[in-house]
Symmetry: C2
Subunit: 209 residues, 2 copies
């Protein structure tokens, strides 16, 4: 048994049950080893510094820092870090941000063990791995214009029940400008009104409540 070739894994998730599940799946694999766990983003970065895992499994939503921000931090520590995002099905916007931030893989909690293990092995081998369901979701919106920073800000305010005039005050711009942003948002998302724009933004993971 050559212990030193084992893939050293760090798992990050705030749900004990999930971490337990990951531990159980990995425990059965002779070529893998769970070396550390974390339940928050801050802890994840800490553990990464200490253990330098070969592969990090990271939940997208964590109580303190978001999974994506944690991922960025970790890659700042080591730009070769191999990180796999692990989530239930979120919107395509989150997935894209994760990949753009440098995630090598994307794993769904609904995937069978076999596929999860394969993903870990492939990513450890230096390949990127995105499940076909996820790829299909991404493909649905390729070429579409994405919302600008400002537009996302405005959309978030709309979701909070603010009128255009309220948003204008909050962002220190004129109401006319807000209306312009709102029109662009609806146009880009294909929404028929502001309410649907919020619904689509939420579904696609662009904004959160």
């Amino acid at each position: 048994m050559t212990d030193d070739v084992r893939i050293r894994i760090l798992s990050v998730d705030d749900h004990p049950l999930i971490r337990e599940g990951i531990a159980a799946v990995i425990a059965n694999e002779p070529d893998m080893e769970l070396i550390a766990e974390a339940s928050t983003g801050r802890e994840a970065i800490q553990r990464f510094r200490e253990y330098r895992p070969d592969v990090t499994l990271m939940d997208l939503r964590l109580p303190d820092i978001s999974g994506i921000d944690s991922l960025i931090e970790i890659r700042a520590v080591n730009s070769d870090a191999r990180v796999i995002m692990l989530t239930t099905f979120e919107g395509d916007a989150e997935i894209e941000r994760a990949l753009r931030a440098g995630a090598q893989g994307y794993m769904l909690k609904s995937m069978p063990r076999k596929q999860m293990l394969e993903t870990i092995r492939r990513v450890h081998a230096g390949k990127k791995h995105i499940p076909s369901e996820v790829a299909a979701l991404l493909a649905e919106h390729v070429g579409e214009e994405s919302l600008s920073k400002r537009e996302l800000e405005v959309l978030q305010k709309i979701a909070g029940g603010n009128r255009n005039s309220d948003i204008a005050s909050l962002l220190y711009i004129s109401e006319e400008t807000v209306k312009g942003h709102v029109r662009n948002i609806m146009e880009k998302l294909g929404a028929s009104d502001r309410t649907e724009a919020v619904a689509i933004g939420l579904r696609r993971g662009m904004i959160h409540l």
Copy 2:
């Protein structure tokens, strides 16, 4: 070793990782035994009929039938069935529906193992068990009027980006009636406009996208 006093458990969740986690947690307990698993609502009802578990752990959202509807089905088979809902934090509306439908316990995926095991033991002993965080969430809205069936229908249509006149056609009622419903909805939810009403409805688990 008295095998026959073991708590016989059925776990229902569409995420293999979660089922794996549950299995791992239970495996360490001498007084519990995982006798069956299911990944869909239909399968859950089937397994319940076959195995008659002492306690059923059921995820709130399942691919086919919702966890609540599965719960109702199961309690139709056996009104003494002890079922614990297992979810990430959803809105208070879902929790209330689950409890109203006869769930004896509510378990959060973010709970530590110890509390989970305690919940299982308490529910098996015939007691109800709701974690304090969940109870607090429920308490936040006690006494508040809940949305009527029709109002929920209207709210769902609003979320889809429909105008009042569209909703009127869809539901075969006049636009004036729709406006009346919309006003009641905003009043009851404390929303300043229809968009915020949708946001609140989503957050509290009254509607889904």
